[in-house]
């Protein structure tokens, strides 16, 4: 298996970008471990903004014979690997006593299940997101504990949703309650994070020397930070703690033995930047996520197709109006058509990721068999801003723990966090609660 795949090279293609992939299996964990061992489980969370037009989203039938709705049609080829989850809700994204701001809350709550503190600047607070909870445990064995990518970065100017800091609306992943994990938008930078050392083509001795230098620098700054600590107020101390944790994380990464791989420089071509075309951009990021999983450089990823409330237009599918503007369809059928096109387009990018994972052989199956990929939006209907019966998909077999190819409808009011609680169990994290969970999600394994 390994020897035959050593000759295989995958090539990603996009407009103006071509990433020739390295001899991947040689990065992988399979080499070091026995071939019979089950590959590790990888998890990713893909976010699509502004809800869905649900009439076109929800399959009309349940169970194994469910029909692919118009929006889900791009998943035709991987239908058997998909589980459609209906009926899940995000209670803490609702207005409650916080008033308007559903876009900010939808995105902030999606992976945390926690009600974000309404503030425009001072004292932002959210929960730790599910991907980071998982990364804190299973991320310790890989080069990067987690990978955060997205098609839209932070907001460049202006204020955000109705009194919520932009931090809530541009970050999906939260490492600590006041510290989001910003996402990388530029595929080149993602690539360099994943493969930087190898691409630079340094000799092993140069890398060893650099690692030694880095360790001495990090020792120095840690000492600097320790000196400073204790002279600070509470909020200052939190910032410094963020800093120190980051320093320790990089130290861990340096100390951890890297798989040494004989990869010729010619095998790694870095992307040149952000492709102009949205689809090229999204697919390149998806390919990099798949690549990171394949090479076992990380086991946890988040992928934001668009920040919630995004008003990007999608001329690729004939929509020149802004997505957010269109999502307030007010029952207009012309807008429904446009929404369907955008929704389908996002699902198609997700389908690309799933297909990609499925195309990569691993152990006795495919990489997708060892993945669980959640796809969804924190808003149901963009016009109504509601947060129940959310559009949620799960892809992958989860190392045999999920019986896919079904549409499961859960009782109204089932928290989305029940799904996350189920995921925690699958990566060996014992927990009784996550966010507003009320129990594990029933029926995933058939």
């Amino acid at each position: 298996m390994i020897s035959s795949s050593l000759t295989r090279r995958a090539v990603l293609r996009g407009v103006g970008v071509s990433v020739a992939l390295p001899l991947l299996e040689s990065f992988g964990p399979a080499q070091a471990k026995s071939e019979t061992a089950t590959p590790p489980l990888r998890l990713a969370f893909v976010y699509a903004p502004n809800g869905k037009h649900m009439a076109d989203w929800s399959p009309t039938t349940e169970g194994i014979k469910f029909d692919l709705s118009p929006t889900l049609r791009p998943l035709e080829k991987v239908r058997e690997s998909i589980t459609v989850l209906s009926g899940l809700c995000l209670r803490n994204a609702t207005a409650g006593s916080d008033g308007p701001g559903d876009h900010a809350r939808a995105m902030a709550t999606f992976l945390t299940g926690v009600r974000p503190k309404k503030t425009s600047g001072a004292d932002i607070r959210n929960g730790v997101s599910i991907d980071q909870v998982i990364a804190a445990t299973i991320g310790r064995t890989t080069r990067l504990p987690s990978l955060e990518v997205g098609c839209e970065g932070g907001k460049l100017a202006g204020t955000c949703d109705n009194g919520y800091s932009c931090a809530y609306q541009t970050n999906l992943s939260w490492w600590a309650e006041s510290t989001p994990m910003p996402k990388e938008v530029d595929p080149r930078l993602v690539f360099e994070r994943l493969f930087g050392d190898r691409v630079r083509g340094n000799s092993d001795s140069a890398n060893t020397k650099r690692d030694r230098d880095r360790r001495s620098i990090l020792d120095f700054v840690a000492e600097d930070a320790q000196d400073l600590s204790g002279k600070l107020g509470k909020a200052d101390q939190r910032k410094l703690d963020e800093y120190l944790t980051g320093v320790r994380e990089i130290e861990r990464r340096i100390q951890q033995a890297q798989p040494t791989v004989a990869v010729g420089k010619e095998n790694l071509v870095r992307p040149t930047g952000v492709p102009e075309n949205y689809q090229d951009h999204a697919r390149l990021l998806a390919d990099l996520v798949a690549l990171a999983f394949q090479a076992d450089l990380t086991r946890v990823a988040t992928f934001v197709l668009g920040n919630d409330g995004s008003n990007r237009s999608y001329r690729e599918v004939g929509v020149s109006e802004g997505h957010h503007d269109v999502s307030h369809h007010a029952g207009d059928s012309a807008k429904h058509d446009k929404l369907r096109a955008i929704n389908q387009f996002h699902v198609a990018q997700f389908a690309h990721l799933v297909e990609r994972l499925k195309s990569i052989p691993e152990s006795d199956g495919t990489l997708l068999d060892h993945c669980l990929i959640v796809y969804g939006s924190g808003i149901r209907d963009g016009d109504r801003h509601d947060h129940d019966d959310l559009p949620i998909l799960l892809a992958g077999g989860g190392n045999g723990t999920v019986k896919s190819g079904r549409h499961l409808r859960h009782p109204a009011g089932t928290p989305l966090c029940n799904l996350y609680l189920s995921l925690l169990g699958r990566v060996g994290i014992r927990a009784d609660r996550f966010g507003d969970s009320t129990g594990r999600l029933a029926g995933l394994d058939g």
Binding site: G121, G154, K155, N162, R193, D213, I217, F220, K234, K335
Partner: protein, 681 residues
């Protein structure tokens, strides 16, 4: 001199005779008095008019009480007061205690929103007396606030690297985007530090130092001993008890090789010290230099040589929290609840406010000699800094976020409807606003020019877009706008574009933008479940107007939309990329009536009404500028500061410098509250 000798022994524990000679050649520690900017006229520059503060505070009775009785409590009283706001206080104590209410009251009365139209309106003098009472008595105790430990944002990082090292790399372009709080990326609370940033900081520091090494002239400058050290010895903390820096190289090697080696180490010591001083924006302590010299010790021991050690030390400095964060320390426990920043901290606040970068040598020298907090010196420095090209950062970073023109980069337009909107035009739009704002800063114009100036800066591309003839070439030049229907930022294509959608204008968004960024009136969020405009994306202006009229006929929408929509309609002669149009299907109807009852036809008349009360605009600008400068959200206690700055500007023809000077002299800028255990920041 004895201090200096001690320092040398601490630093290198070397030197013997040769070193001593070398030391003697160096300048003593004292800083030279530095010439400060140009002479200035204190009458204009320094508002010593504290008359408002020296007058007895206005009394609750009659000023506030009668105002409340006459204009407020008919609605705001009883079991179910309007807006949940009850103002029927029994006495002054009850009134003063209710601080939450006064923020709203002050804003509503000041903006003219209250009392509502159709109700008896107070005379200006009545309002003034009432507001004076509110500002003086009901804002809570004076408190300069406390800014959280704040890291450099991306532009600050790039600029600081430029000024500190002298390389042209822009490493922060590869950092994740900074979040914003209250509209600005200087907000300390949202500038978080995730592990990915530390990774980027480390890579960036290595790249910066590598680039410096490759530029041999630059590197020679960085590793040679600076001409003088003007930092007073005492500012470097107590020296460590034993020679901690480089050990074992002592006098026994007083031969030629030993001396040469000692000189090398000496050079490294002072080079690193000078670099770290500037990087940390304060005198680096003996302990810290000792720690940094360990890098040199290590590379000497392993044969890599002194320069390799300097390289590592410089890299480490660039990853240190003292470089990445703007550290302001509390004074020792037991001191007052608030304290004045030291001169280095003040210099740092100044330079990041006006330059988005580190202080320069002149500021450092003044800080070292303890002169910066002298008012005349400070004012002189502000003027010098505003004249410096680096103050362009205000246009890029402050104005770019205040006016939201940074968002131009992500604006999309339907190419069939707006074929002119390409990257050239997009860039030209951004340039215009930046140059215009920068002109007001540099020429120290009245900030009212921003609203009414009948001039702007265009290149050929933008001139064509505006229908201005006779402009050739891609460079920008100043042109008159008289007769074009345009004046000030509200008619800039940049602003008109970022407040529009991909396919059409949005009068609501434009109106909201003007209320929030020009008049300083926060719009309340739409009722729950309603979000933005529900209109037909392809609608013509008349259709839009009809739809919005429907908005305004619903009570829950009307209170805001009667304020936003007319302003937006007044700008309807400008399409979604800011080009003039007389028709949008039908003839554009750019008329409207403001809640005050004032009617207008077209943008010119609207602008004229907006500047009738210049203090509304100047107060709004002051709030934005203060938020940006402090890096924290404004609170009730800041209101009197905002008023003082606005007043000072009014006395000085609203010159841009007068806002900045009053701001820089204010307590929130110069002081800091001590953290109290258990309380939030």
């Amino acid at each position: 001199m004895s201090h200096r000798l001690t320092l040398i022994l601490v630093g290198t524990a070397v030197l013997a005779a040769g070193g001593a000679v070398f030391v003697l050649l160096r300048q003593p520690d004292r800083a030279d008095p530095v010439a400060v900017g140009l002479p200035f006229d204190p009458d204009i520059d320094v508002d010593d008019d504290n008359s408002a503060e020296n007058e007895p505070p206005p009394a609750f009775v009659p000023h506030a009480a009668s105002f409340l009785t006459r204009y407020c409590i008919e609605c705001h009283a009883g079991e179910r007061p309007k807006g949940g706001l009850a103002l029927d206080y029994s006495d002054e104590t009850a009134a003063t205690a209710d601080r939450l209410a006064w923020g709203k009251v002050s804003e509503a009365v000041r903006s003219g929103r209250m009392p509502p139209p159709g109700r008896p309106q107070p005379e200006p003098a009545e309002s003034e007396a009432f507001l004076a009472w509110v500002d003086r008595n009901a804002v809570g105790p004076q408190n300069p606030g406390r800014v959280t430990l704040r890291r450099l944002n991306r532009s600050e990082y790039n600029n600081t690297i430029r000024d500190l090292v002298g390389v042209t790399l822009m490493p922060a372009d590869d950092f994740p985007a900074d979040d914003t709080g209250d509209g600005f990326d200087t907000n300390a609370n949202v500038l978080s530090v995730s592990p990915i940033l530390i990774e980027k900081y480390l890579t960036a520091a290595e790249a910066v130092v590598d680039a410096a090494v490759k530029d041999s002239a630059l590197w020679q400058r960085l590793i040679s001993t600076p001409a003088e050290d003007f930092v007073p010895f005492v500012l470097r903390g107590s020296p460590p008890l034993r020679a901690d820096a480089v050990k074992g190289q002592r006098f026994e090697q007083a031969d030629a090789a030993g001396l040469a080696r000692a000189a090398l180490i000496d050079r490294a010591y002072y080079a690193i010290q000078a670099f770290a001083d500037r990087a940390f924006r304060r005198p680096v302590t003996h302990v810290e230099i000792g720690r940094l010299m360990r890098f040199v010790e290590a590379t000497l021991a392993n044969g890599d040589g002194v320069d390799a050690g300097i390289k590592l030390a410089l890299t480490a400095v660039l990853v240190s929290p003292h470089f990445l964060f703007r550290v302001e320390l509390d004074t020792p426990p037991g001191s007052d609840i608030e304290h004045r920043l030291n001169d280095y901290e003040l210099a740092t606040r100044l330079s990041y406010f006006l330059w988005s970068s580190m202080p320069d040598e002149e500021l450092f020298r003044l800080a070292a000699s303890g002169k910066l907090n002298d008012t005349r010196t400070l004012v002189g420095q502000v003027r010098r800094m505003l004249r410096d090209p680096k103050s362009r950062a205000l246009a890029e970073n402050f104005a770019g976020q205040w006016l939201q023109t940074r968002a131009l980069a992500e604006a999309t337009r339907d190419p069939f409807r707006f074929p002119p909107f390409d990257d050239d035009l997009r860039r030209a739009m951004g340039q215009e606003t930046e140059l215009f704002f920068d002109h007001v800063v540099r020429e120290d114009r009245s900030v009212l020019d921003l609203l009414t100036g009948e001039y702007t800066f265009v290149n050929d591309r933008l001139a064509r877009h505006y229908g201005i003839h006779g402009v050739e070439g891609g460079h920008f030049r100043r042109v008159s706008l008289s007769g074009t229907g345009r004046a000030g930022i509200l008619t800039h294509a940049s602003v008109l574009t970022v407040t529009s959608g991909p396919t059409r204008t949005s009068p609501v968004r434009r109106g909201k933008w003007v209320l929030e960024n020009i008049l300083g009136i926060p719009s309340s969020p739409p009722p729950s479940g309603v979000d933005g405009l529900k209109d037909d994306g392809t609608g013509k202006a008349t259709t839009l107007r009809e739809q919005l009229n429907r908005h305004r006929s619903q009570a829950e929408c009307a209170s805001c939309h009667t304020r936003m929509d007319p302003i937006g309609f007044g700008l309807e002669n400008f399409d979604a990329v800011g080009a003039w149009r007389d028709r949008d299907g039908d003839v554009v109807d750019a008329s409207g009536t403001l809640p005050s009852g004032r009617a207008f036809r077209g943008p010119k008349e609207l602008l004229a009404i907006l500047v009738e009360r210049p203090t509304d605009f100047v107060r709004c600008l002051t709030q934005k500028l203060l938020t940006y400068a402090l890096g924290r959200s404004l609170v009730a206690a800041d209101r009197s500061t905002v008023e003082r700055i606005t007043r000072h500007a009014a006395h000085n023809d609203y010159k841009f410098s007068s806002l900045v000077i009053a701001l820089v002299r204010s307590d929130p800028f110069q002081k800091r509250r001590i953290a109290v255990a258990g309380s939030s920041p």
